[in-house]
């Protein structure tokens, strides 16, 4: 087990420089944003010297380097500054909004996996057949449309015309109070509280945005599953298994799929960050109080602290997700430990 810990340690060490890189870039990126927060903070009718006075208060007059160290210092203390867009400390804002985005992204991803993996396997076991082509066309169609377009289209059909879906009004219809806070994921919290009514309502709200995201994530997962399965089925060890008379299902699942799962897992890391970016638009369309819609407004309103906080948390999330995937990989695949 010792090598596993050393390996995890090294993986963490490896993530450190990119985190530092992210902090620096997010700082520079926001400083390069057009617009001057001092003017915004000074309010609608402020004149020249009241803007200057606010600028000094915010410490924006000092050199960039100095500002960076102040920012890094605050960051260490966990203070990400105040978002003038929503009037609340950024850290608190992110903590309340992150579960919303995560719940949406993970549901979308989960749906995508449930559909794309079997589809990929189906296509791999019958290469070149009409199923293979159909799966490829369907999946490519899914990824060919911008998410905001699919989102609005689904709203128009299922909410506006048919009235099946609930109103795209955020995470929970106004009839229901959000469940007592446990994980921040409404679905899980309502289950924990045993409140099936709210649970059902949460699911109904989740369906449309999750489907929009899922459509977008189908292609990479299905394509990777198909490729990996084809590789595994053509491998020597599958031929040996067939020569030893193992049943088709045993070969397909225990031998071929488990090996194919490794590359699929690595793509999931990338697809997750891909979705995090995509749900920025989906949140705007479904008025989902997630981290994405918060970022858009902050960016458009050049709300420094909010943009920095958002970019940093996204980056840390990405690094964490990749770390988890690497750990899972080391558990499943004994070889990973050695020739990383």
């Amino acid at each position: 087990m010792r090598t596993k810990l050393a390996q995890i340690g090294r993986r963490l060490l490896q993530a450190l420089p990119s985190v530092i890189g992210i902090i620096v870039i997010s700082f520079l990126l926001t400083r390069a944003l057009p617009g001057d927060p001092a003017v915004y903070f000074a309010g609608a009718m402020a004149d020249k010297e009241s803007i200057e006075q606010v600028r000094k208060a915010l410490g924006l007059d000092r050199s960039w380097v100095e500002q960076f160290f102040i920012y890094a210092g605050n960051l260490a203390k966990g203070d990400m500054g105040m978002s003038h867009n929503t009037g609340r400390p950024v850290a608190e804002e992110l903590l309340t909004r992150l579960p919303a985005s995560l719940e949406l992204t993970l549901t979308g991803l989960g749906l995508a996996i449930l559909i794309a993996v079997p589809l990929g396997m189906l296509a791999a076991t019958r290469p070149g057949s009409w199923i293979d082509h159909l799966c490829r066309l369907l999946v490519t169609a899914g990824v060919s449309l911008p998410t905001f377009f699919t989102g609005l289209f689904l709203i128009y059909i299922f909410y506006y015309l048919l009235g099946w879906a609930p109103s795209p009004l955020g995470r929970l219809d106004i009839l229901y109070m959000p469940p007592p806070h446990a994980t921040g994921f409404y679905a899980i919290d309502s289950l924990l509280a045993g409140d099936m009514e709210t649970f059902a309502a949460t699911l109904r709200q989740l369906v449309l945005p999750a489907v929009t995201l899922c459509l977008f994530a189908l292609a990479p997962i299905a394509r990777m599953t198909r490729g990996a399965m084809l590789g595994a089925l053509a491998s020597d060890y599958v031929r040996t298994a067939r020569a030893n008379g193992l049943t088709r299902s045993k070969i397909l699942f225990t031998y071929a799929f488990r090996n194919a799962a490794l590359p699929v897992l690595t793509t999931l890391g990338m697809v997750f960050s891909f979705l995090l970016g995509a749900n920025v638009l989906v949140e705007k369309v479904f008025s989902w109080p997630g981290i994405g819609s918060f970022a858009i407004e902050a960016l458009v309103a050049s709300d420094y602290a909010a943009v920095q906080g958002f970019v940093l948390s996204m980056a840390l999330l990405f690094v964490a997700v990749n770390l988890i995937i690497d750990l899972v990989l080391t558990l499943i695949d004994p070889r990973v430990g050695l020739e990383d």
């Binding site: 491998s235 060890y237 193992l246």
Partner: protein, 570 residues
Amino acid sequence: MDAQPILRIDNLSVRFRTRNGTVDALKGVSFSVAKGEVLGVVGESGSGKSVTAFTVTGLLDQAGEACAGTINFDGMELTKANEAELRELRGREFSMIFQNPRAALNPIRPVGKQIEDVLIQHAQATRQDAKAKAISMLEKVKIVEPYLRYWSYPFELSGGMCQRVMIAIALACEPRLLIADEPTTGLDVTTQKATMDLIRDLTREQHLSVVLITHDLGMAAAYCDRIVVMQKGEVVETAAVRDLFTAPKHPYTKKLIAASPGPSSKLDDLTAVLDDNTSHQPSMTRTINSGADTGHLLEVVDLVKEFPRRDVEMTGWAWPVKKREAQVFRAVDGISFVLKRGESLGLVGESGCGKSTTSSILTRLMDPTSGDVIFDGANVTSYSAQQFARLPQRMKIQMVFQDPSDSLNPRFTAQDSIAEPLKRLLKMKGSKQIDIKVEELAEKVGLEKALLSRFPHQLSGGQKARVGIARAIAADPLLLILDEPTSALDVSVQAVVLQLLDRLRCELGMSYIFVSHDLNVVRLLCERVIVMNRGRIVEDGLADEVLSNPKDDYTRQLVSAIPHFEPGKL
């Protein structure tokens, strides 16, 4: 061995549907295997020996189909059986073991579990006692500490040990027929011998019939009762081992026997038997001018090359962790030898003995940790690999690579590959001038002009080897280092290439360093031989001397492990 055959194949034909039309892989193959008999199926690549095995076990991929003939296994007609029936038989009645064992085992599943899968599948064991049975099978194939090895993964075992696991899996349900498809290719000579002895003992003990498929005549001679020789999808001859070797009837068989280098065969014998498609070249008498002291071409003074123990310098995206306990692994541990001008030297040893590392250092593709190489009077190790590239000595040392298909750039035609050294080293400019020189070189290595415009994947193994050689001698080097140039080639092709190499040596007066694991092949070309083991030179002497009575016991073990046919021994 009673005469009732366990397996009878009658007039079997197999066709493959490929992109450009159908290919007849087998044309009317017939032979049978008696109970308890070890039948050898010998043939070069493309002779259809593996296709036969796959057709028998019903493992042909979709593209192939058995279009004629019957396969009778102990009274049951296999070509008529559907997939379910066949699956019942596989593993229980007949089973197979394959080449390249490490890839043939599931990389992420403990070997013990893989044995259990087969046992449980054929109801030879219940979930509870499957583990015990698996461990006993591991013991049977002489794997030390079986209860520990039960949990290890294929990448943690050596090639030989993986093959033993494969054998354990194949024999777990005590089948009545074992088909071994090139089981020992790619293994070290000593491991090869150990594996084949294990197969012989186990199959005799369970009086199992065996079909051994191989391209190595020596192997077939040492371990089989009867041999079937196949060429281009047809059976050309079937005979008992003794009769086949003493009185081969079919010319192809004769050619094969002659082409496999034995301990006493001469270079000219290889192509002694007249064959229609290889033109007979009068072989030059090889003068050993070791006497005339024309100075040392190459002098190596206690060369050392060290590699870190665990390749800590991750080539992945990892941060270099401090080398805490990384001991150093010495691939080359202080070797020294001298090479006279025009002399050719053999470097022999098993894989991992440091012979390839040495050759890379000599050709300056790799920098040594310490030690000197004085070539043609100049100390070449003093320059870095990059600087050496621009020196005039660069063209004086060239190399022929082991795997011909990997040594040619897939996007270059043969013409471009050969022209490359002319343009770079000899700074030849005019395309007209280059074309003439390329044609001259092609002619010298016996390559038809028409093949020059072809891509590597459109050339055969032999033709690719000739392009590699033509490229190496383009800048007429003084020293040519041959890194197992013929090990990937078929026996008959190897014979022709070896003769070509010998002829070029005499014509161009080059000296060779011939790196190989096969003493018989080295003996043909080189006067002197160096045997290496774990980075050190264990023996240095005249080739015939070393082969007939080796002084060092490691060399003795190496020589005895090479399977070959000895009339007297049977």
